[in-house]
Amino acid sequence: MPSYNLYMGCSVPANYPNYETTLFRVADKFGIELIYMEGVSCCGSPNLRAMDYLGWLIVNARTLAIAEKNGHDIVTPCNGCFGSLKDVYHFLTHNADYKEKVNAELKKTGVEFKGTIKPRHFIEALYNDVGIDEIRKNITKPLDGVGIAIHYGCHLLRPQDVTEFNPEIFDDLIRVTGASVVEYPLWKQCCGATVLPVNEELAIRLARDKLKSMKEAGAAFATVSCPACANQLDLQQLGLKESYGEEYNLPVLFITQILGLAMGMKDDEVGLAMNRVPADPILEHLSG
């Protein structure tokens, strides 16, 4: 049974308990142990990287160093945290002078970054360490005939030499449930979350572009693996009613909610009522 250090970040626990709980429920099915990390906080997001590169390196190197104590890899359910941890890991393992500089600061807090464990997105760990065949054995409520558009999210995919993430992982995790992956032109495009603090109008336009592209390609549902992307694609649909007078009615589910439902979990176990755009139409597919 694989064990991981669980790095939650700040957004999932505050905004998406439905994602957090399904993370544990799915992990439980496969005997995965998730250990909440002790003494950690936020990753700072790309905003911290933008204004204070050194500070961003230190706080994320500290998180990595804490995980090194028990030797388990870190998994996180957030693309933002994943992007920060992966980038800092990659940078410090390729830049000895910065590593030294960061460790001089970390010494004051009693830890040292060595680079002995890897930060990973939860879905990549699930895919590679549990495997698609094992997951398939647990699918009891297949989502046959359901078309799902995947929003992978920028910081999961790029820069690829840093994230080392293969988008087919996400595709396979959807297909194993029996659902089909709806291809749409803007699959690589940003949800707009990062620019929200500086230009809300632009952020809303980007969310609209995505939703439109998914909807026009025939998606019945969308899925995400990141709380910031969920803000933009799920919650922002309410804002789009006001700003553009458009209703997309495209339910957005976390990948763990979809896996949970396909493995026979009930709607309240996956926290379906917390999704802003009513996601219960997926239940009709399950019962139908």
Partner: protein
């Protein structure tokens, strides 16, 4: 085709002329020495980055122009541009660059330089304050929602003190302190 004497009249201006005396020759090297800036000079201005950018159509200076401006030494124009702060950080430009210029990373470097000089949007200063005051960007408020989902009301293991201390000692602290 003999109108050569009319050359006193400037041609239709497509871009503002660049005043060479105002260029900063050290700017290029400054960026090159920052994280992931090494490949900056490899840019051959193909503008693939701009074609890849989902929002460049709304920018005054496009990504390939910003890179060119850095190479020319247009420090002030780059660091005071709003474009660097509008960057989505989606890495589409960087991913497609045929010359391996780490365009998005370089814009991060530019923002760090701009922040050092106090050229930073108020909304980002606000986020800096959240980070030094609360130690995170989002704080759990609806703990009953967590309990409804069979989670601990407080996030297990969360500790913000050391995070705050670290950032108060780096540029974030100066950004916040400078505003008081």
């Amino acid at each position: 085709m003999t109108e050569t004497e009319e050359k006193a009249d400037p041609p239709a201006v497509m871009i503002e002329p660049i005043d060479i005396s105002k260029l900063d020759p050290d700017f290029r090297e400054g960026i090159r020495s920052m994280p992931n800036g090494e490949e900056l000079s490899a840019c051959f201005a193909c503008s693939t980055c701009t074609a890849a950018c989902p929002i460049a159509s709304t920018w005054k200076y496009k990504p390939h122009q910003l890179i060119r401006m850095i190479l020319l030494g247009m420090r002030k124009e780059v660091l005071s541009s709003e474009e660097i702060w509008l960057c989505l950080t989606c890495f589409e430009c960087q991913e497609r660059c045929p010359q391996n210029v780490r365009v998005t990373d370089i814009f991060f470097d530019c923002k760090n330089l701009a922040a050092e000089e106090g050229m930073i949007p108020d909304s980002i200063v606000g986020l800096a304050r959240e980070l030094t005051d609360k130690g995170q960007l989002y704080v759990v408020t609806a703990d009953w929602e967590r309990e409804d989902m069979d989670l601990e009301p407080e996030v297990p293991g969360l500790s913000t003190e050391e995070f705050k201390t670290i950032l108060k000692g780096t540029r974030t602290g100066r950004i916040v302190g400078g505003d008081e």
